[in-house]
C-alpha cells in the first residue's frame, strides 16, 4: 500500500483527512480512488495538481508509476517565470 498525503488546501475537500494508505499503481488510479472517496476533491485533481512520488515531482503524468512502498504527496502544481 502506498502512503498518500494531501497537502495545502486539499484537505478541505477530504473531510479534513490528509493521510491514506492506498493500493494504487499509478497516478490515474490514485486520482480515481481519491475522487471516488471524496467527490468534492475530484474537480481539484483535474487541474492545478502535481504529485510527488518518493520525492520526485510529476505534473500532468497520469501514468507515472506508484510503487507498493511509495510515499506520495499531492501538492499544488508549480509554475515559473
Amino acid at each position: 500500500m502506498a502512503k498518500v498525503v494531501l497537502n495545502g488546501n486539499l484537505k478541505q475537500f477530504s473531510d479534513g483527512q490528509g493521510d491514506f494508505d492506498l493500493d494504487v499503481k499509478d497516478v490515474r488510479q490514485l486520482f480515481a480512488q481519491l475522487g471516488a472517496r471524496f467527490p468534492e476533491l475530484a474537480p481539484h485533481l483535474e487541474e492545478g495538481i502535481a504529485v510527488a512520488i518518493d520525492g520526485e515531482i510529476f505534473q500532468d503524468a497520469l501514468f507515472a508509476a506508484i510503487g507498493p512502498e511509495s510515499e506520495v504527496h499531492v501538492i499544488p502544481k508549480i509554475g515559473g517565470g
Partner: protein
Amino acid sequence: MSDSAKNDSGSNGHKYVGTRQVRPDGVDKVTGRASFGADLHVPNMLIGKVLRSPHAHARILSIDTSKAEALAGVKAVVTRDDINDLPSEMVPAGEMMVNYRDITRNVMAREKVLYEGHAVAAVAAVSESVGLEALSLIDVAYEVLPHVIDVMDSMKPDAPLLHDGMITQGVEPAPEKPSNVAKRVEFAIGDVDAGFADADVIVEREFKTKPVHQAYIEPHACLASVAKDGKAELWCTTQGHFVVRGHCARLLGMDISKLRVTASEIGGGFGGKTVVYLEPVALALSRKSGQPVKMTMTREEVFRATGPTSGAHMRIKIGAKKDGRITAADGLFHYQAGAFPGSPVQLGCMCAFAPYDLENARTVGYDVVVNRPKVAAYRAPGAPIAEYGAECVIDELAKKLGMDPIELRLKNAAKEGTQTVYGPKLGVVGLVETLEAAKAHDHYKAPLGKHQGRGVASGYWFNIGGESCATLNMSEDGGVHLVVGTPDIGGSRASLCLMAAEELGIDLDKVHPHIADTASLGYTFLTGGSRATFASGMAVVEAARDVIDKMRERVAKMWDIPVDAVIWEDGHARPASSNAGAFEPMSLAEITAMANKTGGPLVGNAAINAQGAGPSFGTHIVDVEVDTETGHVEILRYTAIQDAGRAVSPGYVEGQLQGGAVQGIGWALNEEYVYGEDGKLQNAGFLDYRIPVCSDVPMIDTVIVEVPNPTHRFGVRGVGETPIVPPMAAITNAIEQAIGIRFNELPMSPPKVLAAIDASRGPLADAAE
C-alpha cells in the same frame, strides 16, 4: 577574476557539454539582423493602438467609437464586444493557474476598469499618428469608484470591492460576505506551537515588499494577420507561443489549429511574457480590418498595463535551541495579486523555509486583489518575497545565537530526504555544497572597512519540466537541423546544440537550431520555470537517441546483421564486437548521404512531458558600504554560488547567476512602484523606475556547484530563477552589519536608509559626530 571567455574543455568525459562556445544565434544578435517582436514589417500593414483607462477603478457606462471609426485612415475599432466573454475556468499559464474569465477582462475591460492603464478599446489605422488621433476620438463614460492600492488596506472590511461576489476560497466555512481576498492557502508539517515552546530563542518580524517589474528591455509587440477564411498567423515576442495560441484561440472563439503562432526573438521576459496582452487584440483588429495589424507597447504602457510581481506584507517567526537547531518556523504572507486573483503566494508559502530541514513549520498565505495591473510571473514567482523575510530572520537569529550565519544554515540545511513544508521529501540537492563553497570563498574572509558590511542568504526554487517536443532533421550532408519549441531567452539554443552534438557524437558546427512555429512542432510549454535547457534538453536527447536507433537499423540492414549488433559511438555506427563482423564504422554523414536509398529521410523525434526537474539551491555573499550622510548603499563585492546540477553551457549559467543577482540588487535598493493618492502610477518609465545601471554594480563573481540531477542525462538542473531569490535578504543582512540597523522593508532606498540612520542616532549622538 574568472576569465569568462575561457574555452573550457568538457569534463566528465564530455566533448561539448560543459564547454564555452559561441552561441548559434550570436552573429545575428551582434549585427542587428535578429528579428524581435517589433522588427517585422509586412505589406499592407496597419498599426494598432490601445485606449487605456485613466482611472484606477471605474464602471464603464458606455463606449462610443463612432467618431474614431469615421476618421480617415482608421480601419477597425474593437472593444469588449469583439473579445469573447468567458466563464470562470482555470488553466495553467506559466505561473500557477489563470482564469479565462479574468484573462478576457484583463485583455479588454468589460464591466469595469480595475487599474489605471486597463485596456478599454483599440484601433487599427494606417499610421501611428492616425491611430493616436483615433484614440482621442473614442468617448468612454465612466462612473469612477473608490480604489485600493495597498494589500493590507484591501483586506479591510470597508475596502472597495473589485469583484462583486468574490468569496474567499480555502476558508472553512466559506465566508458569507464577498471581499478582496481571493484565496487562503496553508501548508504545515509537525507541531509549530510545540516547536516554539521548545525554542530557546525566537525571532519574529514583519516585512513589506513593493511590486517590481520584470523590466525586460523589449516592450510587448506582435503582428497579426487573419485571412477571410479565418486562418490566422501571429508573430509575437513571447516565452511560449503554444500558450499564446491556446489563449488567443479561446478568447477569439477560433479553432486552435487555425492559428499559427511564430515566436520572434525575445528581448527578455523573466516571466512577464508568459501571458497575453496585445496578441488577442491584434488578431481581433486584423479580423475586423482584413489587414495585418502590428502592435507595440510603449514603455509607459508596459509599466501601466503589464504584470509586475506582487508587493507583499508578511510576518515570519523562527525559533531555535541555543545550539542553533531550529525548532519551528511560521510564516504569514499577504500578496497583492493585482486586479485579478492569482498572486504567486502559494509558491511563496512552499518556498519560504525550503532551505531548512524543519520538523515543525507552517505557512499561511492570502491572495488579495488591488487596483493595480494583474501580476505576472517574475523569476521564481513568489519565492524571492517569502524567502527574503525568512532569510532576514535567519540572519537575526544567527546574531542572537552568536553563530556565524553560514554555520547556522549548515546546521539546519535541507538535504536529500528533508521533508518540505508542502509535503514531499527532497531528492538529491546541493544546498550544503553551496554553503560550504561560500564558507570557503575568499570573499567570505576579506576584511571590511568602516560602514561596510557583509551579508549572506540562501535561496530555493523547484524548477519544472513539462511538455516539450524536439525534432532532429538530418540533412543529406550530415548536418542536423535541431527544432524545438521553447523560445530562446538566454542562450538555450546553445546548450541544446551542445547536448545534441554530444549525444550524436558529431561536431557542434553541424548542429543548427531552429525555434519552430506552432504548426511545425508538437505542443511545447513555454520557456519558464527554468525548464528550457532541462526539458527541451531532455527532448533533444531523446530525439537524438531516436535517430541514432534509426541509423543503427539502417546500418544493420546494410551490414546484414541484427540491429543489436550495431552500436553508436563517437558519431559512428560500429559493429558491437568483432563477433558481429568486420565492418568499417560508418559516420553519420555517410549514413545520412544514403538515407533516401535505405528507407527514406532520417528524422529523430521526441514528444515528452518532462518530469524530474531537480530543484536548485543558491547562496549569495554581498558586501555593501553605506553613506551615512545620504543613505546611499553601494554594492562593493558580490559572489553568487549555485548548484546547476550540470552546467551545459557555463558562460550562460554564470550569466543567469549574474543577471539574477543584479535584478535582486535593484529590487533591494531602488525598484518600486510609486502610486499617488489618485491610484495612478507616477513612475511609469525607466527614468524613475530605477533598474540597476552598469555603473551601479561591481563584477559579479560566480561559483557553479555541480550536484547532478539524477533524472537528467547530463545532470541538468534549471538555473534561471534561483539567483533572484537570495539578494534582497543578503543585502539587508549586509546593511545591518554595516550600520547596525535592520531593515524590514524593500526597497532600501536612500531616503528610507537615511531616515532610519537619523532615527537610530537621536539628537545627542548626531551632535557628537
